[in-house]
Amino acid sequence: MLYPKELSGQTLSGQVSGRTQSLPGAVIRLEPGNYLAVTDAKGHFEISPIPSGRYQIVVTFMGYGKHSDSIDIVQQENIFITLSPQTVNLQEVLVSDHLAEQRKRETPLNIEIVNDDYIRQNMAGSLMQSLARLPGVGAVEIGSGQSKPAIRGLGFNRVVVVENSIKHEGQQWGNDHGLEIDQFAANRVEIIKGPSSLMYGSDAIGGVIKISRLDIPAPHTTGGTADFVFAGNNMLLGTSGYAFTRREKLFFSARATLTHYADYRVPADSIDIYSYRAALSNNRMRNTAGKEQNMHFTVGYIQNGFSTQILASAIKSENGFFANAHGLEPRRVDTLLHDKSNRDIQYPKHKVEHLKLISKSNLTQTNSAFDLNLGIQRNRRQELSPYVSHGYMPANFPTNIGFEPEIERAFEKHIYSANALAHLNTTGRTNISLGINNEYQINRIDGRGFIIPEFEQYLAGIFATAKYQHTLATILHAGLRADYGAIRIDEYSDWYTTPAEEHGEEAYAQRAANLSRHFHSFTWAIGANHNISGLSLKINAGKSFRMPTPKELSANGVNYHRFSYEKGDSTLSPETAYQLDAGIEWNTYRFAMGITPYINYFPNYIYLNPDFRHNHLYGNGNQIFNYTQSSVFRHGAEIHSHFNVSRNFTLGAIAEYVYAQQLSGDKRGFGLPFSPPPMLLLSAKYVNKSRQWLSNSYLSADIKMVAAQNRIVPPEKKTPAYHTINLSAGGILSLNKYPLSVSIQIHNLMNTKYFNHTSYYRIINVPEPGRNLIVNLQIPINREITQTNHSH
């Protein structure tokens, strides 16, 4: 339905002030319609055009009480709002979806916050690929449908992913394992850049990715959304359906996601694997098709000051691996079989299943809040390929072994987590948080190849943080944390025999010995925020830590995907990192700029160091790679800025840079693996909010320029510089009663052949995907209830 013109074009303007002064940077929100405005340097704001009608207006400003009122807008309105000073209630900050800016101004850490609109507008094959445009955020890619998170060049076990308040645990160490997260179920993603062990414990040494489902619906509503996605390059078809209902206090929601994609296409006819050239059929990366099936259920109860939710999810995916090279080993392919269909998933492939059950409860009182979060997870992963006798494995697979010949590796991990958190507002100026984290995991392995042992692991941490509102503009932070960790590794011996060194008996080689290790760690952080009108300053210093993984302690086998004989070291100490982090952000009506420099020192970074020796008894003639510790210095910065040329037209720039150097050990002077090269992204965006049948429409172009990466470690390859152009457009179409959100993207517009230094397949010269058209549609089933209500 089209609105009559005279009803659609009202303007609401006004002034927001405190008791004595105007408040620049206050956030004004109008519902329904989610109209947002921020006051300028004089505390003035304007929202236009808005249809006439009754609205709920909410005004927030850091350090002041929230102003909430209803307002009838029938003509041009001008209002005056006075806020009274109040100490910030941390709980409010945590649950407010649209107050990302406020969260940024109050934490001493450098963070990025995006919502589901951002993910939809930037959607790529997997969550981390969709987020990789953010400054300092990267993805270690494995084909078109999988990726692992990387923050400022650190990834794998150095980044913690928290989904719905529970640490996500898969097989993070793996080179070719993606993150088991449904990107359609991520309503809000907060990325903390830099060491954050204080709140998140071991592994948060590189940063944290916090993913939340924010689906507490408004009382007495029922509704849902339907999402559809299509990608041209790999012929991806995906859909995600979401439904919810809430009575007064009880609510339910459910989501189902299905995606299926074919082999992806690269702008190349062949791939040079070592000196061998593998021909591709129709530019397709043979056998990289995949599929994903996800389910989510939530049931919750909410009443004044108390909420509890049970969130259950099942993520299932199956992906093929590039058939011409299993890992890095060139493989002869049956082109008749593999090129028959682009959509089938042949060997080699993997299957992953991640089940999660989370209970989240919160009790909020006038001066305190308590959280209790419990989680159970089960992660199962199987790598499947036809049996090949590597090294001393028998030529033919024996019949009396307890696993199928096709199972190359299999892992089953059970994880139990329990976290409790208390927020106390003691004097009105001081907020204190106390927390306890507990996590127990048990990992079982199967299959013909050994890479990590079976293990049990227990981690416990206790922490206290304080936030002190020194003045209206200055917030001081400090925190302490103590951790205890225990790992028990089980013995593992080969299922086949290896000849002994000198004319001895053949024996079952022991790969891992029984091992028991205990770790203690003590970490801290101090920080400050200073916010004056358009200027926001932050500084943070701290220590973080990471417990060595079972693979780092006990690996003793060949990673056939990399031709490396990887050896753990059972004496490794916990990795520690010291970081000094700063953030300067300057905002005016027309121009905004932020710079976030950091320096980071690891006295004992755990590094898989390539030796010059080879080993035939345990390593089947492969090169030895030893886990070792060296001191590492890193520094870097991200810069982002935008300039509003006019009301509708914005120019933007994002740059990121990270430098790492090993200061000791065999590789003194070298950098670190998977180091992202410097990057500059220039963007131009045109936004138009005034059309009737098409609202919030945008058209934008990005040019991404990436420098060469010549600082490499063995066995990496130098990666040349490149640039790519991405286009995107979208808006909300209101042709009938259901507004349709559309976003269209073209990735790699010029179909440029380039290499991504942080891609798993970089080493065998697999270029990045060619031109890709991605279309995303979202239809809300009920218009009024597309916004969620978070007021307690």
Binding site: S275, A541, Y601, R613, H616, K718
Partner: protein
């Protein structure tokens, strides 16, 4: 804090002094006139042959390994540009396997390995399977950079 400040200073000083690093891989030269075996060569059970190649590196070579394994199932591909004729796929019964590593004397930037490799008549299970084998050479330099070449060979009994 008392460790942090000196640590950062130290790190800064270190990071300002640029250290020359070796970022070049070693090279296995099979175009070397005496190189043996090369792609499509034939080796004989019950006889020995001399492995010859030319290894080079910009700084210092490290070690190398040699592996001979069957390729009756055509599972893997040689790294060589030219294809040689493979026999039809067949199941392995008693395939021959050889894996050995060799260290290169220090301070060599060029090295000509000459290794005599004995191919036995058979083992306790009798004669070895004749047919397509892979001859895999892995070379590393002292810094841990590596090169790998896989050549397709036939290993048979001499009539």
């Amino acid at each position: 804090m008392k460790y942090l400040v000196p640590a950062f200073w130290l790190a800064f000083i270190f990071s300002c002094t640029s250290i020359d690093i070796d970022d070049e891989k070693p090279y296995i030269d099979l175009n070397y006139t005496q190189a043996f075996p090369i792609n499509c060569d034939t080796l004989y059970f019950g006889e020995s042959f001399i492995f010859k190649a030319r290894f080079t590196d910009n700084v210092e070579l490290g070690s190398y390994s040699i592996e001979i394994h069957h390729n009756f199932d055509h599972h893997s591909h040689s790294t060589e540009v030219s294809e040689c004729h493979l026999s039809d796929p067949k199941p392995a019964i008693n395939p021959f396997l050889y894996i050995e590593e060799f260290e290169i004397p220090p301070e060599q930037s060029e090295y000509l390995p000459e290794i005599t490799i004995e191919l036995p008549e058979g083992n306790e299970n009798g004669a070895f399977d004749e047919g397509d084998y892979h001859f895999l050479i892995r070379l590393s330099d002292r810094e841990g950079w590596s090169d790998m070449r896989g050549v397709g060979v036939k290993v048979v009994y001499r009539d």
